[in-house]
């Protein structure tokens, strides 16, 4: 995947615990982990934004051992479901989680991470081009992965490095989780050009984060819409960050007002603000709005990345050629992933998409062919940057509480509709939803109704529920 020999003496990783590694050390340390495994098999990596996690990931990718990246804070039940469904041969995880896996053999330890050899009685066959498994962000626990190929990852990293004009002088801070496709794309694209990753687990709300990026002269930050809302409330424009040159945004649609505000701030302060568009199903990135157009075209997610193509289709799948007509956004490119896996048996599957992705997003293009996202076809919400599948959450709640329910809402505000007779469980349901999704409790509201509106065939009428959403 990466040739670390090209940049031997460049700094590769600086973390907030004081670890500094150059590319020669990155190569050695990551190869040591891979050497313990020595073969093509499945490994779960429970990631924090930590040097150990990056070394394990890089080592496996370069050695063609297939990692599935999961958040180290993933709910235990959900993790156990995934382990049952995929039976990885190894797990690479933070030492602090070791106690949860007493029945597996510890075979290697480095940088506060441990390699465990599992003892499942079965291993699933892996498709030869399968490189990596990722969840579709904030996942609510269906054991579903996106299957990404080596070509997908390399092609997308190159396209990103190309349009962001990345070089070895870049110093991005890893402020997004590395198991999240956008966070990972920052790592992938910068390792490709020999840049230095500033690795921290701290959040924007912590003094340590800001002193870490100031001391280490971070050149770029990345954020989801909620990140920019926070930066705005923190009156970010007043902060003195002369080394910070690039700010990227993806993971959902920023309000046009904030887009404009940050575009103006960037233009006036010799920085670049780049709004982007992507999905895990397209490895990471599909579109971007070039910095020089950020103000002129605010509200737009831009144009397709180098090597990619966008178009819109109507309900009958006919191509839309007129500007300002809404249709489903279709993307074509080498970064369109192989497909999904719902169980270990699916890991042998080949390419099911053949370079074409129906994004599920409804969009328009303007007279200059810049694209604007206007809505969503599928039932999911973005909660503070995390994709939450509403049908999955429905199922989880129904299974846990054995009640009737329907989830709906708008981005950052999820509504759980239940029946009045179950109202005594409302606060438990709300806590359960927050807990399973790892989303802040404030994003959830439970509303009890006399009945949940349905059509004659028993399908829930989600449009009827929309009247309960506060503006």
């Amino acid at each position: 995947m990466w040739n670390f020999n090209n940049f031997k003496n460049n700094a590769a990783i600086i973390d907030d615990c004081g670890v500094v590694l150059n590319y020669a050390q990155l190569k050695d340390e990551s190869e040591k982990i891979a050497a313990e495994i020595k073969r093509r098999c499945l490994i779960f990596i429970l990631c924090g934004n930590e040097t150990g996690a990056i070394l394990g990931y890089a080592g496996c990718m370069n050695a063609r051992t297939v990692p599935a990246l999961l958040n180290k804070h993933l709910d235990n039940d959900l993790l156990n479901n995934l382990l049952d469904a995929y039976k990885p041969a190894y797990i690479w995880l933070p030492e602090s989680l070791l106690n949860n896996f007493k029945n597996f053999e510890l075979v290697y330890k480095a940088y506060n991470y441990c390699l465990l050899k599992t003892n499942y009685d079965k291993e699933f066959e892996l498709y030869e081009e399968l490189g990596l498994l990722l969840t579709t962000s904030g996942s609510t626990g269906s054991p579903k992965f996106v299957r990404q190929s080596y070509l997908n990852i390399l092609d997308n990293a190159q396209a990103i490095a190309n349009y962001l004009e990345l070089n070895e002088l870049e110093r991005p801070v890893t402020d997004l989780p590395m198991n999240y496709t956008y966070g990972l794309s920052v790592i992938n694209s910068h390792l490709l050009v020999g840049a230095c990753l500033l690795v921290t687990e701290k959040s924007l709300m912590q003094r340590e984060f800001w002193s870490f990026i100031k001391e280490n002269k971070a050149s770029s930050i990345s954020g989801v819409p909620y990140t920019y809302e926070m930066l705005d409330k923190m009156r970010f424009s007043r902060m003195q960050l002369p080394d910070l040159k690039t700010m990227t945004q993806a993971g959902g649609k920023l309000t046009p007002e904030l887009h404009k505000k940050f575009a103006e701030f960037a233009l006036n302060n010799n920085k670049k603000f780049i709004v982007m568009y992507g999905a895990c199903e397209a490895t990471a990135r599909m579109g971007y709005l070039p910095a020089e157009k950020s103000l002129e075209k605010y509200g737009s997610m831009g144009i397709a990345i180098p090597g990619g193509k966008f178009y819109l289709v109507d309900e009958n799948l006919n191509r839309i050629n007129q500007p300002f007509v809404t249709g489903e956004l279709i993307y074509e490119g080498k970064n369109v992933t192989l497909g999904y896996a719902e169980s270990g048996e699916d890991l042998i599957k080949g390419d099911e998409r053949h370079g074409v992705l129906e994004t599920g997003d409804m969009a328009q293009f303007d007279a200059d062919n810049y694209y604007f996202i206007v809505g969503r076809k599928k039932r999911f919400l973005k909660m503070f940057g995390n994709r939450i599948n509403l049908d999955e959450l429905d199922r989880l709640i129904k299974a846990e509480f054995e009640i009737e329910c329907a989830c709906g809402g708008v981005d950052d505000k999820l509504y759980i509709f239940i029946l009045k007779l179950d109202e005594d469980k409302a606060s438990l349901i709300r806590e359960f939803a927050a807990n399973k999704t790892k989303i802040n409790l404030s994003g959830f509201k439970v509303i009890a109704l006399d009945e949940i509106p349905k059509n004659d065939s028993g399908k829930i009428l989600f449009k009827e529920l929309a009247k309960y959403y506060e503006a």
Binding site: S203, M205, E229, R238, F384
Partner: protein
């Protein structure tokens, strides 16, 4: 304004934005409870700003990392007496 009244406002801001109880506030720090993550922190800051009709400085927003330290910031920089 009576000090007790300010304390009550301050406690209410915590309890409402972080959905916790007054008896849990002593010693409470950022990330001690799930509700006080970055999303919760912005809600807390908004609630405090509204309660005392103030606009906090960026540095103070980041610094407000515990229940007790928040009181110090408010009394030292924003003339809120407890």
């Amino acid at each position: 304004m009576a000090n007790l009244e300010n304390l009550e406002k301050y406690n209410n801001a915590f309890c409402e934005s972080l959905e916790t109880q007054p008896d849990k506030l002593a010693g409470l720090k950022y990330q001690d409870i799930e509700a006080w993550d970055s999303v919760g922190h912005m809600r807390l800051i908004a609630a405090i700003e509204e309660a005392f009709d103030i606009m906090m400085e960026t540095d103070d927003i980041i610094d407000l990392s515990s229940y007790e330290h928040g009181k110090e910031i408010l009394s030292q920089k924003y003339d809120v007496e407890f």
